[in-house]
Each structure stands twice: as structure tokens, then as C-alpha cells.
């Protein structure tokens, strides 16, 4: 009986995966768009159940309101404002069969991987004693032993980068995907060229003068937050967002024509790509070094471990840099600052120019 009881989560997992597969198939072949949205909401519900079973409650807390509530609501409003039926005569039968086959194959591969992980760790689901894990992290973070610690006195940064690097990486890439989406939507738009005139444009002289005084200090604080990310609370993302305040101040207090003297969209994209390359480099540099000198190493490795004895130095000339953390924070600062600069510049394109481009596309 107890065997049967311990099998329950596996059965629920399998049934949820199957049901979400069917819901995806129905959502794709359905011609009534409202019903398709409802099918996709059903699929999200089953995914939330799967996430809960795999013990990621933080993802579930975000996933339920967004994917089950907010997204279908927005989609239904959009469908009501436009057309209720797909006008392309439905999906052809061969396409629907291909979709069904590919979704089934994906589900089977995912299930196979779960079974393989079961064979390795003898357990699909993570240990229920999560507190033990947290205690281990906290005990090793400030224990200055290079084999166990990440040599950074800031516990949050150390844990996020050294134990949950993949998680951080994907969280970061979500924001970059959003910016890529904004760039793709605005690919035909450009900020119109116009001469900035101090006496006509922008807000009053009081605002301009105090902004000129405060702006260098904001940049200095932002750089200090980013470069001290491995020592104090903060880091690359927080520093980048602080620095992005300067761009929005330039746009709102002066004018977008004044801001484009310092931030051109193309240069911002270039700097953002450099930052992204730095993030990728800081994730893989130890693995690359290990590959070159022929020693075992991991992606996202920072300090040497027992089975992978190479790592970056944790200090240079007595200054603590915590291995890859300084490189990561610097690149993340650059990438986030330039990403937000691009967003602000795109948002400040005048409406007439946007309308011109849209009309030109339609006609």
C-alpha cells in the first residue's frame, strides 16, 4: 500500500503531462479563437501542477496568475476586439498531425530524461528537506575554503551565481528576449533627426541645471553598485537599472534629441552585445580553460572543486574579485544599462513618426 502511495506523484505527473499535450493539440487545431485561449489556459493549469510536483513553488506562484489568469484575459480581450474565428480555413490535417507527433515526441523525451535522472539519483522529486540544502549553502559561503566556498562575502550573490547560475542565466535571458522583441517591433522606426535647442525644448532651467549636477553622481553610484556586487548587496542588474535612470532623465528633462547625442540606438545595441558576450564568457571561461589545458571543469564553475581542480583567482594583488563574479557583474551592468537605454529611446519616438511608418506599411 505504501508503494502505491509513493507512486501517486509519478502518476499525477504523467497524467498532467498527457493532458497538457492534448490541450496544446486542441488549442492549435481549434478555429474558434476564444476556445483556443481556454485550451491554452487548461494547458497552463496542468503545467502549474507539474511545476508544483517538481518542487519549484516560486515558479508556480508566478505562473498561476500570469499564465492562467492574466494572459488568457488579455488574449480574450484582443480576440473580442478583432475577429473571433481564424480566417485561414483552419489548420490542414497534415500540419495538425505533424504538430501532434512533435508534441508527443517532446513529451516522451522529457519523460525519458526524467526516468534517466531517476536512475542516476534514485529520485525524480527533489529532497523534501530543503532546509538542509539552505544550511549547507550558508555554511559553505562564508567558510573561506576554496574547494567549498565561492570566496565572496555577499551570500546572496555567491549562492545565485555559484549554485543557481543556470537559473540566473535564464532569468537574465528573459529580459534580453523582451528587448529583442521591442527591437523587432520597432525595426522600421528611428528617432527623427532634429537639432536640440536649449531655449525651446525640455523643461525649465531649474530642472535642467539640477539634472546636470546630479547626473554624474547617479552614474558613479551605479558603477559602484555594479563593481561592488560581490562585496555588498546589489550587483550588475541593480547597477544597470540605476544607471538607466540617467537615460530617462535625459529624455524627460531635456529632450530625446538631446539624449541621442549620447545614446544612439545602434551603438547601444553594440555595447549590449558586448555585455552579453561578457556574460557568456564569464559563464564558460573556466570550462574553456579546462578544455585547453585538458582538465575537468564545469560550465558556471567559479572556484576549484574537488573533482575539477581549476578555477579563477579570487583576488588580484590583495583585492577580492571572487573569480568570475567581477566579470559577470561588469558585463551584466553594461548589458542591462544599454538594454534599458534602448527601451527608453524606443518608447520616446514621437507618435507621428510611428503612425507614418505604420501607414506606409499598410498601403
Amino acid at each position: 500500500m505504501s508503494d502505491l502511495y509513493s507512486l501517486t506523484p509519478y502518476v499525477v505527473l504523467a497524467v498532467s503531462a498527457l493532458a497538457s499535450t492534448i490541450a496544446v493539440y486542441l488549442a492549435i487545431i481549434e478555429r474558434d479563437l476564444i476556445k483556443a485561449v481556454l485550451y491554452s489556459a487548461i494547458q497552463s493549469t496542468f503545467y502549474a501542477l507539474i511545476f508544483y510536483l517538481l518542487m519549484v513553488p516560486d515558479i508556480v506562484l508566478v505562473y498561476i496568475p500570469v499564465a492562467v489568469g492574466l494572459l488568457p484575459a488579455i488574449l480574450i480581450i484582443a480576440v473580442k476586439k478583432t475577429e473571433k474565428y481564424e480566417d485561414v480555413g483552419g489548420v490542414p490535417r497534415t500540419t495538425s498531425i505533424i504538430v501532434l507527433l512533435s508534441v508527443t515526441v517532446f513529451t516522451l523525451i522529457a519523460g525519458y530524461l526524467l526516468v534517466v535522472s531517476h536512475a542516476i539519483t534514485f529520485d525524480v522529486f527533489p529532497s523534501l528537506d530543503a532546509r538542509l540544502l539552505a544550511k549547507w549553502f550558508l555554511a559553505t559561503t562564508l567558510w573561506w575554503n576554496r574547494l567549498f566556498s565561492s570566496m565572496s562575502p555577499e551570500a546572496v550573490t555567491a549562492i545565485v551565481w555559484d549554485y543557481r547560475g543556470l537559473d540566473t542565466y535564464f532569468e537574465t535571458s528573459v529580459m534580453y528576449l523582451a528587448i529583442i522583441g521591442a527591437l523587432a517591433i520597432a525595426r522600421y522606426l528611428d528617432i527623427p533627426r532634429k537639432e536640440y535647442r536649449e531655449d525651446v525644448m525640455g523643461m525649465s532651467i531649474i530642472g535642467k541645471m539640477s539634472t546636470r549636477v546630479i547626473m554624474p553622481m547617479i552614474i558613479i553610484v551605479a558603477i559602484s553598485i555594479a563593481l561592488h556586487g560581490h562585496l555588498t548587496p546589489g550587483g550588475g542588474f541593480q547597477g544597470g537599472v540605476t544607471g538607466a535612470v540617467t537615460v530617462s532623465l535625459l529624455i524627460f528633462i531635456f529632450s530625446v534629441y538631446f539624449a541621442t547625442r549620447f545614446f544612439k540606438i545602434s551603438i547601444a545595441i553594440l555595447l549590449r552585445i558586448i555585455g552579453l558576450a561578457g556574460i557568456v564568457l564569464s559563464a564558460t571561461i573556466v570550462a574553456i580553460i579546462g578544455f585547453l589545458i585538458g582538465q575537468p571543469a564545469y560550465i558556471f564553475q567559479n572556484q576549484p572543486k574537488i573533482i575539477a581542480q581549476i578555477g579563477l583567482p579570487y583576488e588580484i594583488g590583495g583585492n577580492l574579485i571572487s573569480g568570475t563574479l567581477l566579470l559577470f557583474n561588469t558585463s551584466e551592468f553594461l548589458a542591462v544599462l544599454m538594454g534599458f537605454a534602448i527601451l527608453f529611446l524606443l518608447l520616446s519616438i514621437p507618435e507621428e513618426n510611428v503612425l507614418e511608418v505604420i501607414k506606409g506599411e499598410v498601403e
Binding site: M203, S204, I206, G207, S210, V213, I214, I253
Partner: protein
């Protein structure tokens, strides 16, 4: 320095008390004042009286605690710098808010006693 410490403490506590009083006054004003521009006045009381003054008070209190050692100078210095920036930037912010709200006509100027800015604009001395 020892003799000065109680004086600094008392002045600091008095300043913090003034700050608490200003916060309450600003809260009442925020709820009771009739339109945007007068409510902005209450917000400015909150920013200067309710934030600038107690931060100075906290810095003085931090200076007077000798157990902190050298750290107390860092605390007090950070407090003074923050207070000075608040003193410069809070009025600028409310000035820009008021100007933007006035010229975009986003806020209704209903119970109005006098509007000198309107007269200046009519005479052409100030550009919108």
C-alpha cells in the same frame, strides 16, 4: 567632545520629533486639501520637514554615540550628504511636477484665489 554629546543627542531627538510632526501634518494636508497644487504643497512639507530634518537629526544622534568608534563619522557623513541632496532635489521635483501639471492642464484648478502665472502668460511674458 564628551560634553557635546548630550547636546547633540537632544538636538537630534528634537529634529526627529519635528520630522514626525511634519509627517502627520503632511498626511492631514494630503487628505484635506482641495486640488493638486495645494496637495503638492503638503507633499513638499513631507519631503523637507518630514525627511530632510529627521535625517539631519539622525546624523547628529549617530555622531553622539561614541561606542560606534570611527564608524559614526561615516554614518553621519552619509546622512548629511543624503539630506543635502534631498534639500536640493525635492523642490526641483515638485517644481517640475507643478509646471507640467499646469501647462498640460492635467490638474483642475478649481478653488482658485489668484493665478499670477495665467496673467503672465496672457501678457506674453512667459512662454508655455
Amino acid at each position: 567632545m564628551n560634553l557635546l554629546n548630550p547636546v547633540l543627542t537632544i538636538i537630534g531627538y528634537v529634529l526627529v520629533g519635528i520630522g514626525a510632526f511634519c509627517q502627520v501634518v503632511a498626511g492631514i494636508g494630503m487628505n484635506r486639501f482641495p486640488n493638486f497644487f495645494v496637495r503638492l504643497h503638503a507633499a513638499t512639507i513631507c519631503a523637507i520637514g518630514g525627511s530632510f530634518v529627521p535625517i539631519i537629526g539622525c546624523s547628529l544622534i549617530a555622531l553622539s554615540i561614541e561606542e560606534f568608534g570611527v564608524i559614526r563619522f561615516f554614518l553621519a557623513g552619509a546622512g548629511f550628504v543624503t539630506a543635502v541632496f534631498l534639500l536640493i532635489l525635492a523642490p526641483v521635483g515638485s517644481h517640475l511636477l507643478a509646471k507640467a501639471a499646469y501647462f498640460s492642464k492635467a490638474a483642475v484648478l478649481y478653488p482658485k484665489a489668484v493665478d499670477l502665472l495665467e496673467e503672465d502668460v496672457e501678457r506674453g511674458e512667459i512662454r508655455e
